[in-house]
């Protein structure tokens, strides 16, 4: 197995790594870069626990090769807060008890941020469709939807 040398940007920082050509970006992020916020639920694109953005597009890190990140911009949950200060979505997930075990949470947060970046005032239906690629075995989704609505409101207020 030949290693691929990759230079990329993760959460704004330049990062270099060598990985086997068939290794997923999910495994690279967790095992080589040490960013374990990105989770593995299924490994086949169904659960969204591994959600990240790649050049601004929401994707499943399990369905991207580590080699593909060359020269791209990757963002993960670790890049969401501002130092100690939580992003409004993170704050509202806590305040609304939108998580229990928390395995799905980084993926939901990344997917929800991607939605709110494009649509600052989504309807409940729009939120549910946008989060259809994220599975949660604990919460029953209602609290997640409410947290996203509340965070959307906070973000709209911040912008004013």
């Amino acid at each position: 197995m030949t290693g691929v040398h990759v230079s990329t940007s993760i959460n704004g920082d330049p990062v270099e790594y060598v990985c086997p050509a068939d290794e997923s970006l999910l495994d690279v992020l967790r095992d080589r870069v040490g960013l374990t916020g990105v989770k593995e639920g299924c490994g086949t694109g169904d659960c969204g626990a591994c959600s990240i953005t790649l050049d601004g597009a929401l994707v499943c890190a399990c369905l991207v090769l580590g080699a593909e990140a060359e020269g791209r911009k990757v963002t993960t949950i670790e890049g969401m807060g501002d130092g100690e200060k939580l992003h409004p979505l993170q704050r509202q997930f806590i305040d609304n008890a939108a998580l229990q075990c928390g395995v799905c949470t980084p993926g939901f947060l990344i997917a929800a941020k991607s939605l709110l970046d494009e649509n600052p005032d989504p309807t409940v239906e729009e939120i549910r469709y946008a989060l259809a690629g994220n599975l949660c075995r604990c919460t029953g989704y209602d609290k997640i939807v409410r947290a996203v609505q509340a965070a959307a409101k906070d973000l709209r207020r911040q912008k004013k």
């Binding site: 068939d22 997923s24 694109g45 959600s51 080699a67 259809a132």
Partner: protein, 286 residues
Amino acid sequence: MRYESPKTTKEAVTLLSKEKGKTFVLAGGTDLLVKLRMDMIEPDLMIDIKRIPAMNEINKTATGFKIGAAVSGRQLGASKALAKAWPGVVEATNLIGSDQIQGRCTMVGNLCNASPAADSVPAMIAAGAKAVVVGKAKRRAVAVENIVTGPGQTSLAKGEIIEAITLPKRPAKSGDAYLRFIPRTEMDIAVVGVAVSLTCKRGVIDSARVSLGAVAPTPLLVKEAAAAIIGTKLDKEALENLAAACSAACNPIDDKRGTVEYRVRVAGVLAKRAANIAFERAGGKK
């Protein structure tokens, strides 16, 4: 496995034809990387086409649209011109998976994966789309309905790659639509998919194409179904004839998602609904 990311189609074709081992073209990877992960494939070489600039573009041409093979569902959905001319093709492609999958999946990957239930394929067939197939010696335009030859099988020869999909120019008073039936509201595989594309002249349907997905080993172009509505204003009788022609064309399997009987019946029902939407989009009035 080796990974290559060529910068031109020519380079990709050279890599593809030179390699002796198992080679796969990597577009969005939403089928391929699932198979890799499940050990269903053991590639020697993967050729990533996303660094080929021409394959990332959507262009309006003299003859219609040219959509690069690496264009994702998300990029496709953002094109206003395309959504206006071919709403059915765009909505079918945008039905694939979740937002995460949309960030990566391509129409060409959907086509070449050759699943009988692929959502964008009936819409492309109804639209009269062509695949621009490039090999070492020549390039050819192949009607989309002639690409898939069976489940997981295509008519592409070794060393051939699809560079783009072309959609014809849209005359006035045209409309297309795609509908699928799934047991859930999203993130599921079509039990039946139906695409209808039509053009009206003086209020009457002048030309039409109808395609079915998930009801046979390959997506179908159903000429009898188109014939049933051409020359009509999509009155009740025309719709019934359309449904009957669609049901008659089905050759489905029985599985946990739907029985043969169910699929045959639903194909007719969905065809009527899709035709109504396409007719309305074409400005047709009953």
